[in-house]
């Protein structure tokens, strides 16, 4: 048995980690609002190298030269925040990135989702967005033939493809009129998820990258859904030419997941949790570093707060060093 009791502790920030907390488009160092206009912002001057955190109703700037973006509104010619979050600026456009928010998608995003409902010719998928996304029967690859026509019998056996509870990786294809996302799995890299475990992190921590499918050196595959849903699984060699289309919808895990694989998967999973706990952006590089850092600890100790903190710290330092 393994149990430990702790007192709550105040949150400690990871030193030197600011590079990882930035939005990817631009560093917050660029954040320079003209000094003349800072008076309005409750006297707290915006310093170049600090995060500018605002609360709803707080005036960001009263310079009329700025344009309002997401998370802001204009009142008395001042740009005011409408959410609690961090100020972002692109040229003259000011927006506020909320600290906690549901996933807001863009076309082309890779997401991981869970089927919540099977409806007429469509599935509803939980993607941590404001409403369930839709996966149309016509947006999946049907088994037996690469681009077979949808048949009536398919409509009657939709559960043999995806059932309530199934996890899928898919791509955002379009938006519906009501703002719901339409997904598709018409690629062999998308489809049902197997051989692993599911982790959920705040969506904001997953950045848009060239690829969201990673095979780590430790023999673990990671799919980083942009909606904050992450799938960590045993490595399956993919040969896109020779995939049996029948197997795409199988529920069976592969037989040869070794205890070593499981340990690695658990370790990677815990690393992701440790990083998310510290609000650090998650990508394959930092996961690999965190994994390296975690190897000095026993797997079952990785649930401990201090060890998680240590792993996250070490991983960020490693990334900084690499960049530096």
């Amino acid at each position: 048995m393994n149990v430990s009791f702790h007192s709550p502790a105040p949150r400690t920030a990871i030193s030197g980690s600011k590079a990882h907390r930035q939005s990817k488009q631009h560093g917050l160092e660029d954040m320079e609002l003209d000094g003349d206009h800072e008076d309005g912002a409750n006297g707290s001057g915006v310093k170049a190298s600090t995060l500018h955190v605002v609360t709803p109703g707080e005036v960001i700037t009263n310079d009329t030269a700025f344009m309002r973006g997401h998370g802001t509104y204009i009142e008395n010619e001042k740009v005011v925040s409408s959410v609690a979050g961090v100020v972002d600026r692109v040229n003259k456009l000011i927006s506020v990135r909320p600290l906690h928010t549901r996933y807001t998608g863009e076309i082309g995003d890779v997401v991981v989702g869970r089927i919540t409902e099977v409806a007429q010719k469509r599935w509803k998928v939980d993607v941590s967005a404001r409403q369930d996304a839709i996966l149309m029967l016509s947006s999946i690859n049907l088994p037996g033939g690469v681009q077979r026509r949808k048949q009536e019998s398919d409509e009657l056996q939709m559960r043999s493809f995806f059932m309530e509870g199934d996890l899928v990786v898919a791509e955002v294809q379009a938006f519906f009129g009501d703002g719901a996302y339409s997904l598709h799995t018409r690629s062999l890299k998308y489809g049902k998820l197997r051989n692993g475990t599911f982790i959920s992190v705040p969506p904001a921590l997953v950045q848009r990258c060239k690829s969201h499918f990673h095979s780590l050196a430790c023999g673990v595959d990671v799919i980083l859904g942009l909606n904050g849903y992450i799938w960590v699984s045993a490595h399956v060699p993919q040969n896109l030419d020779e995939i049996d289309t029948e197997l795409v919808y199988s529920n069976k895990n592969k037989e040869d997941i070794t205890p070593r694989d499981r340990e690695s998967i658990a370790r990677v999973g815990n690393c992701i949790r440790a990083l998310a706990d510290e609000f650090i952006f998650i990508n394959d590089t930092i996961i690999s570093f965190a994994y390296e850092a975690s190897l000095q600890y026993k797997l079952k100790d990785m649930n401990k707060k201090e060890i998680m903190h240590a792993i996250a710290t070490e991983a960020t330092t490693a990334v900084d060093n690499m960049k530096g």
Binding site: M1, S4, G165, F198, N251, E263, I265, L299, N303, K304
Partner: protein, 328 residues
């Protein structure tokens, strides 16, 4: 609290438990880290907040109030006893499933379980008449709940202390029962009841006064003998403790084992919709008992350490600052 799980996730969890590597790297008998703080709500007689790393967050408060004793008309039982009234409530914000009336069944299950395990009255379940008649001098002094209810009586037949134990589930991350009972134990340990002074007015009439002195308080007697609960989740042929929400979805049957520090079993309850072979059941009971005793020791050590730290601070004139809800 997810309500759905895919067949492959289920299979992965099941096989992982089989080879003693759970999805988050723990072994079968491993608990998550428990974060505990007592005295977090100043308006109560005692309180505690328990969190299991990764989700579950329970706030337990104990409020001592004065009320009339509850007497059974048939046996006359209860005239010299105080009462414990338990309530467990899952905040709707803890999970989407708890919205509206979604938590009603769970609230009721946990409330009834807590009442049954903590109450002195070993057969609260049955008609109120079935307590041990005190006149016969039957041997159970402190019942399974441990707490000495007779000490809570102020004037026999009239007034007594009623301890309202309220557990509020703020966040759901699996293994609610264990967290609720750990929190309850910590909150009862934190509880101080004012002393009372009873005056005999003659003619069988009594009056009493509650002493207003903050220093002149009593602890709840018998608190050491309160049970805590270990929930064992049977998944496949094995069982684990402190299940995560996804593991709970794979659970065929769970067994809640209530145990006190001397290793006596104070309650058992099966949950979920599966069965257990009798031999495995006995093994699980034994396992829960051993585990529970260890858990109580460590929990008590932690509660004691915190209480001592607070006392030292008070003696040194330092303010006792609780992190409360600003903590991580």
């Amino acid at each position: 609290m997810p309500s759905l799980i895919s067949p492959s996730e289920r299979d992965y969890i099941l096989k992982g438990i089989e080879c003693n590597i759970r999805a988050d790297g723990r072994q079968r008998p491993d608990y998550r880290e428990v974060i505990l703080e007592t005295g977090v709500i100043s308006q109560t007689s005692g309180s505690a907040r328990v969190r299991l790393a990764g989700g579950t967050d329970v706030l337990v408060s104990v409020k001592a109030d004065i009320g009339p004793v509850l007497v059974d008309p048939e046996t006359g039982e209860g005239a010299d006893k105080g009462q414990i009234i338990c309530n467990v409530e899952c905040a709707p914000s803890a999970s989407q499933q708890f919205e509206g009336r979604g938590a009603d069944e769970l609230n009721n299950e946990l409330t009834q379980m807590m009442t049954r395990f903590l109450s002195h009255n070993t057969t609260t379940l049955s008609t109120p008449s079935s307590t041990t008649p005190s006149s016969t001098g039957a041997p159970n002094n402190n019942g399974a709940g441990g707490i000495n209810l007779s000490k809570l009586c102020i004037i026999p037949g009239e007034q007594c202390w009623i301890l309202y134990v309220d557990a509020l589930v703020l966040d759901y991350g699996g293994n609610l029962v264990d967290a609720v009972f750990m929190g309850t134990r910590a909150a009862i340990f934190d509880t101080r009841i004012p002393k009372t002074e009873v005056q005999d007015l003659g003619d069988g009439n009594f009056d009493f006064e509650v002493l207003d002195d903050a220093e002149d308080t009593e602890v709840v007697e018998g608190r050491e003998d309160m049970p805590i609960c270990i929930t064992l989740n049977k998944i496949g042929a094995r069982h684990i403790v402190d299940a995560s929400p996804l593991e709970e979805l794979c659970t065929e049957a769970k067994l809640v084992v209530a145990v006190n520090r001397s290793g006596e079993l104070c309650g058992l309850q099966k949950g979920q919709d599966g069965g257990i072979e009798p031999s495995l059941l006995l093994e699980m009971i034994q396992f829960g008992k051993t585990l529970g005793q260890t858990l109580i020791k460590q929990l008590d050590a932690k509660i004691k350490a915190e209480a001592e730290a607070d006392t030292i601070k008070r003696q040194n004139g330092q303010p006792v600052v609780k992190l409360g809800f600003f903590a991580q």
